[in-house]
């Protein structure tokens, strides 16, 4: 049985619909990340699952029970807020115990659960402090501890790392990954706009855009086989190079002419009726290599900007003046200069082909 099922979920504010027909099944023990640009509706969806926003249409089931009109506290969820939302006037212990005190649990039980959660998160020495005496990372741990004490079926994280500085963010991200290992039975839903968090934490990622689900899948599947141009450009940094193209030859492999003039052979199946249609061709910056020998040259152009990061060198270049720049991410330190001529190639299996509407040829059925 799925831990959480969303069926035809919709959300409107007055006449404005912000979430359209969301369908999603989340299995027990999964860590699902909702990711997308600002305003895509990911936080709204999470808050609807939490019960902090009314569900306009569709059904939400948690472990088989319809939860649309059940108050948040009875849904079996716990939420970790972006700003931690700790009660500033209560000690760490009272913060974590508040929910159980409201539920009139026995003192012994409260004590037991709070100490257990504090143990997991190494909060035991901080139990009698007030939130203002804690660092950002510690506050975030208390917020997570408060969620653990509730012993929920589903953990909800709303951008929990956004308020931390860069170094702490990495450390806390690893802590959350470890926490997930310690609680293999619990289902977690995690909202973020940071694709690194999404890629590293998720067992599955849900990419949202403009209130629609663009693609659902394991992180590497989204990276290797993006369902559309949006996902292709959203996952990966810098974003995938995407160019308009026209399909020439179809079959088990496809040949396309780029608007820039070059011709590419893509080992992706196409149908006879695709011949002559407009399409989009994509290749990731990190998949581009300097062309050697008789490899098919994808791009040839003049270097505009070189960004040396040590680990990699990012080269922005144009084939002709006025066109959008192509980005290549080449390993190591390279001594390119502005004005150098470069020929770039890529392994055939790293090439992506999308139709005129931006949908990947890989996912066409019927």
């Amino acid at each position: 049985m799925a831990s959480l099922t969303l069926t035809n979920i919709r959300k409107s504010y007055g006449p404005v619909e912000v979430l359209h027909d969301i369908n999603l099944e989340i299995e027990k023990g999964e860590l699902v990340v909702f990711v997308g640009p600002s305003g895509c509706g990911k936080s709204t969806l999470l808050r609807m699952i939490a019960g902090l926003e009314q569900i306009t249409g569709g059904t939400l089931e948690i472990e088989g029970t319809v939860m649309n009109d059940v108050p948040p506290s009875q849904r079996g969820i716990a939420m970790v807020f972006q700003s931690y939302a700790l009660y500033p006037h209560m000690t760490v212990r009272d913060n974590m115990a508040f929910g159980m005190k409201i539920a009139k649990a026995s003192k012994a039980e409260i004590e037991e659960r709070v100490s257990a959660a504090a143990e997991i998160l190494q909060l035991t020495p901080l139990l009698d402090r007030l939130p203002k005496a804690l660092s950002g990372g510690q506050r975030q741990r208390v917020a997570i501890g408060r969620a653990i004490v509730r012993d929920p079926k589903v953990f909800l994280f709303d951008e929990p790392l956004s308020n931390l500085d860069a170094g702490l963010r990495v450390a806390t991200r690893i802590e959350i990954a470890q926490l997930k290992e310690q609680l293999p039975e619990s289902t977690m839903i995690y909202v973020t706009h940071d694709q690194v968090e999404a890629m590293t934490l998720a067992s599955r990622i849900v990419v949202l855009n403009g209130g629609y689900v663009e693609q659902v899948g394991p992180p590497l599947e989204l990276y290797e086989r993006p369902a559309n141009v949006f996902v292709a450009k959203f996952i990966g940094s810098p974003a995938m190079n995407v160019f308009a193209a026209t399909i020439d030859a179809t079959g088990a492999a496809t040949t396309a002419t780029l608007e820039t003039g070059g011709q590419v052979h893509i080992p992706v199946e196409s149908r006879a009726e695709d011949a002559g249609t407009a399409a989009h061709f994509g290749v990731r910056p990190e998949d581009l290599v300097l062309a050697e020998g008789d490899a098919e040259v994808l791009f040839e152009g003049t270097v505009e900007i070189v960004e040396g990061l040590g680990e990699v060198t990012q080269v922005y270049f144009k084939e002709k003046a006025g066109e959008s720049a192509v980005v290549a991410k080449l390993p190591g330190i390279r001594a390119f200069k502005r004005g150098d001529r470069l020929k770039l190639a890529a392994a055939p299996e790293k090439l992506h082909l999308f139709d005129a509407k931006g949908r990947s040829f890989l996912y066409r059925n019927g």
């Binding site: 948040p72 716990a78 939420m79 807020f81 500033p88 508040f98």
Partner: protein, 341 residues
């Protein structure tokens, strides 16, 4: 000259004088005393900037010293003296003889003083508590409804009325007419409507104190509401949502999450109203003038100073009021400063 013109002239002279003072004194400082020129330009700028705050503070310091600090010292002196006419002198010529604490001793012997102390104490307990409680309630309720702002304006409006004006309004509320006439006071109208006999409410001992207190509660609730409403809005919404997820009901959210978070503001409001209460004078003066056992300290002081012309005892009672106010004032200022940090 027409009084309105006189008023305008006064305003023009006052405001113009202030502007001229600041402008000219700063010009003097920058052009004549320490001009930012020549070999010592840097030193002069620093010196001018050290002096400048005192130019701005000066007038206020002098005014406060003259009208606040000096009267306190003078009142203390008067409270320890006895004023007697100079033998064989002109009318209005007085000697001030040092009498130690005799004025205080005399005051302690007067039942009216103890009545005032008792009443002030009751005011102190009732008015700040009720005003803060009603203000908090109004703030919470009006924040959630569409016509909340209209309701807030209505509740705040009494703040704009002077204490004497409010007393006149409430005197009408408590007004009593003979039994055979129609009651114009709303309280008696209700009372008679429910089958009672018309009462002269302001003469009913003990209760009349509460009828007076309500006037101040009516005025101060608006103040409490405005401050507490701002504080309530400052509470992070996410803490409330976290409490909802934790299963708290609206009462628990209010009392266990919201109120504790604005505790310091509540205390500041409470103590500020306490200060107003300790100085309460106009309402009692205008409504009962301390009769029927409604005397309060400020009215007692007024009686002694300006009716009985007993400057000694009057000053002594003023000192008592100041002694009562000071600790609350200090605590209030300390609290407000901590809040600001």
């Amino acid at each position: 000259m027409h009084p309105a013109l006189q008023g305008l002239l006064t305003i023009a002279l006052g405001v113009g004088g202030c502007v001229a003072y600041f402008y000219l004194s700063n010009q003097f400082l920058d052009r004549v005393l320490f001009p930012p020129r020549g070999p010592n330009a840097g030193r002069n700028i620093n010196r001018a900037n050290m002096i400048r705050p005192w130019l701005f503070l000066g007038p206020a310091l002098i005014a406060l010293g003259l009208y606040l600090a000096y009267p306190v010292v003078e009142t203390l002196r008067l409270s320890l003296t006895e004023r007697v006419p100079v033998p064989g002198g002109q009318p209005g010529e007085y000697d001030y003889n040092f009498v130690g604490f005799a004025n205080y001793a005399q005051m302690m012997d007067e039942p009216k003083f103890w009545e005032a102390m008792r009443n002030n104490f009751m005011w102190l307990l009732v008015v700040p508590a009720l005003s803060t409680a009603f203000g908090l309630l109004a703030a919470q309720l009006t924040d959630r409804i569409r016509w909340g702002n209209a309701a807030k304006s209505m509740i705040f409006m009494p703040m704009a009325i002077s204490f004497v004006g409010a007393s006149v309004i409430w005197k009408l509320v408590y007004d009593a007419r003979p039994i055979d006439q129609e009651q114009i006071g709303i309280l008696n109208a209700l009372w008679v409507g429910l089958g009672g006999e018309p009462q002269t409410w302001l003469t009913v001992p003990l209760w009349n104190n509460f009828f007076l207190m309500i006037v101040l509660v009516w005025i101060q609730t608006g103040f409490a509401m405005v401050i507490l409403s701002a504080a309530l809005r400052g509470i992070p919404e996410e803490t409330v949502e976290a409490a909802i997820v934790d299963g708290a009901n609206p009462f628990q959210i209010f009392f266990k999450i919201k109120v504790p978070q604005i505790k310091t503001t509540i205390m500041v409001v409470w103590t500020t109203i306490t200060l107003v209460v300790l100085k309460v004078f106009d309402i009692v003066f205008a409504m009962t003038n301390g009769q029927w056992q409604t005397q309060v300290l400020a009215n007692y002081m007024f009686d002694k100073l300006f009716r009985a012309n007993d400057w000694g005892v009057g000053s002594a009672s003023a000192m008592v009021i100041m002694l009562l106010v000071t600790p609350i004032l200090v605590w209030n200022v300390w609290n407000a400063r901590r809040e600001m940090r």
